[in-house]
Symmetry: D2
Subunit: 262 residues, 4 copies
């Protein structure tokens, strides 16, 4: 049986210690919010390159406008404006396998064939191996292609540029690009790496466990969800989204009331 | 009826715009995670002083070790490790009136008597007014005193020092200190400003609506909760917390089974 | 300090006891789901009239089609179909002051002027007192009028009929009807009691603390939300609701891109 | 693209229709809460035997005392007593693969080898097949054995008795018992069917999709969680659970402060 302990933080009447550092004198005013997020994940302060890359990774996931997650949060706020934390919680609850999940899916996919960074790896062969494995189990390759952003996800080249500047454009970034190239070759259509694919590869470059990927998404989206709730408080739209959906459904009933007995 | 619109972000096939800026070229790599949080709240990029102060405010709220919120998140992860976002959501759901609420309580208390910063205000008189109002309705003054951190909350002087360095040690910081002094005078015991009291005053110094206070807490705790879930995955303690609680409850039943019919 | 105890249930290796009863032999097969809900609230088994009335109260709140709550749940399921419990949780999170809150608002309103059932009370005078109090603080009377169901909420007469049959049509039902009549007289428009108003009055008739009202709503909606998630799995609509909202918002941006800098 | 429609319910100004029935006149007062839950799952009213069996299934899952889920809900309520719906939501969020998941795990396991009820099936051969499959992939058999209830889960024989009385003791109940017998034979220790195993088999007997299993658990636990929150409001224990956990963790730090740098 594990005993009840945590290495994260503890308090004495006159001190608070987090990750082995005195929170007031060593963290507050010295560590930015993004670097604090890195500290929560790795238990150490990032260096300048790590900080720049990791902050860009987090910021990429903060905002994508009206999504299922931000709409769910706004609808929840409509019913319980006294509990905005619950609205953010509702929005986070949908960050599962379908949307944010492709970051961790990419990381798992890359780690599976290259468990540790290997500069000498035969990347085209590994990419071919990946594409064939996924085809064999009829699974969709994560991090590749985008239903809306065409010809490419505009975040992809920017994240690669920052990775190059900070020294994180290593074998996993190269591998995920090879996977996309191989998929394009086999499918005969354009399937460039999207933002979640690059983010998954960057998690590998940083040595993060694949479980960390979803955590980064959750941190980032919590920030964006608060922004959406504050806008909803100023300029509400959730009621209108609800009423339009209800009206559409009601028209179906009116057109075919017998459908309800189905 | 409001139409369905948001000023936060929108996408075209080849671009993503957030807060009127091109996300890839103007935000990624230029705006840190903490500054992105500021952008979500204010719709503008902070200057250097705002950034330093705001990041310190966020970081203050990230981590306080084992709290009801972090334990609830860990217990949720124990049952659904495949949905870590739901565990973070469960942890956020408790950030209501009792804990994080004292930040917004302090901001509301200060705004009520000084709706806009007023360098010429008679702070002792305003503080006396506040303390008497709260006494009249038998309400607890928010942001004052601490059940555990004695003689003072170690975060308080540090936050004041950063506020002084960045130019945010204005009339609201002075007022909340006067409130504490007045409360100490009337109650005859030490009641210094705690971290949430300073954070509430800083939200006023920054001109934030009091609703923003809880949003800052939610952003910050989401980051801390992810850290706790990742630690729980490495070194689980939730099961032990559950079993100890269940054992304590069972001993009560064994000692007095008839109690259950009560 | 309270010790850790619960009177609800405990287990031994060979037995499970709930509310002082042997769960397998005294509850399973003997107590229906609705009566188990009554047992959770009151710690006793309902008699036949209580059971009929309480089941009707619960059932009233199970289903109202596409609501902010059911849409939020469906949008959450869209992102995390592997965690349907989190989708239901997201849907429940919005059952706050705005929608389900009017049941407890009605109960509080009635208890405030008639703390215990009083067959001799001057109901018109109490109703006038209530309407004037709410007018004085510019508050909306809960449980009265309905934005959509006109001339009356069709659930109202049915709930009153069941209350009459089961002996629960007492002074609180009469009082809430007087409140509606008085409001109609003062406002000069039709303001009949709606379903939440009758449910609030019925909670008073049953002697429930007003906090119980929201609990009844939460129990009932959880059942309805599961139904909506199962339908969403068979016949998904959340993606379409999302895309229509996003498209409407995008049209605003296209029409006036400068708005985003606001 | 699916259009926005639901077959569950719709409203006109003077009527509410649910599952093709007039809610006020055909459901309220006629359909119990448990039968309404059945209606949400199957879109039809259960007959008397179905009702008795299904209500017993739901009631089995309502209450098991202090669990990770009920403790998480109580801790959430401690921080946000104004939002009890969020506390229930937090409690539901943990009903994932580990606890309630074994009901659906059992149903999937049984459906995999017997997709439709087959009175002529060679049950010992099917059971052997199941046990070998699970052994081959080193997976734990769901619904078998219990860490605490010994020699048997006291709910198991009672659920089987009700199944026999109501005509639901069919081939799936027989098969899950064969699986337990085969597992006992191979492992050489007592591994009886537990309550979740019987419930999973009963879901198969009722012809429910395996996804429905978790829905039944969510409905049932929502009822139990409301009971725990109402008890927490009367007799709070969450603070004590938190403080004991925090104290245990603090003792570890005091004993070995250097551990925090790990």
């Amino acid at each position: 049986m594990h005993s009840i302990k945590t290495d994260i933080a503890w308090s004495a009447p006159d001190s608070i210690t987090a990750f082995g550092r005195d929170l007031p004198s060593e963290i507050l005013g010295h560590v930015s919010f993004g670097d604090m997020a890195f500290l929560e994940i790795t238990r150490r302060i990032p260096d300048a390159n790590e900080s720049r890359m990791f902050n860009a990774m987090l910021v990429t996931l903060v905002e994508h406008g009206l999504t299922p997650s931000t709409i769910a949060a706004r609808l929840t706020y409509l019913g319980a404006p006294e509990a905005m934390q619950a609205a953010v919680a509702a929005g986070l609850s949908g960050l599962g396998s379908v949307f944010v999940g492709s970051v961790e899916g990419t990381a798992q996919m890359l780690y599976e064939v290259m468990p540790a960074p290997d500069a000498a790896a035969d990347l085209p062969a590994l990419a071919q191996d990946i594409v064939e494995r996924f085809a064999a189990r009829k699974a969709i390759l994560p991090g590749i292609g985008h239903p809306f952003h065409k010809p490419i996800d505009p975040r992809t080249p920017r994240l690669i540029a920052i990775a190059t500047e900070t020294g994180f454009a290593g074998p996993y970034i190269a591998l995920v690009q090879q996977v996309a190239a191989e998929a394009e070759r086999q499918k005969g259509k354009s399937l460039p790496v999207n933002a979640t694919g690059i983010l998954g590869a960057l998690c590998c470059e940083m040595g993060f466990d694949w479980r960390v990927c979803r955590g980064i998404g959750v941190m980032a989206r919590a920030v964006g969800l608060v922004g959406h709730i504050l806008e909803e408080a100023r300029n509400p739209i959730a009621r209108q989204i609800w009423l339009q959906a209800e009206q559409a459904a009601t028209e179906h009933f009116r057109a075919d009331p017998a459908a309800t007995t189905g």
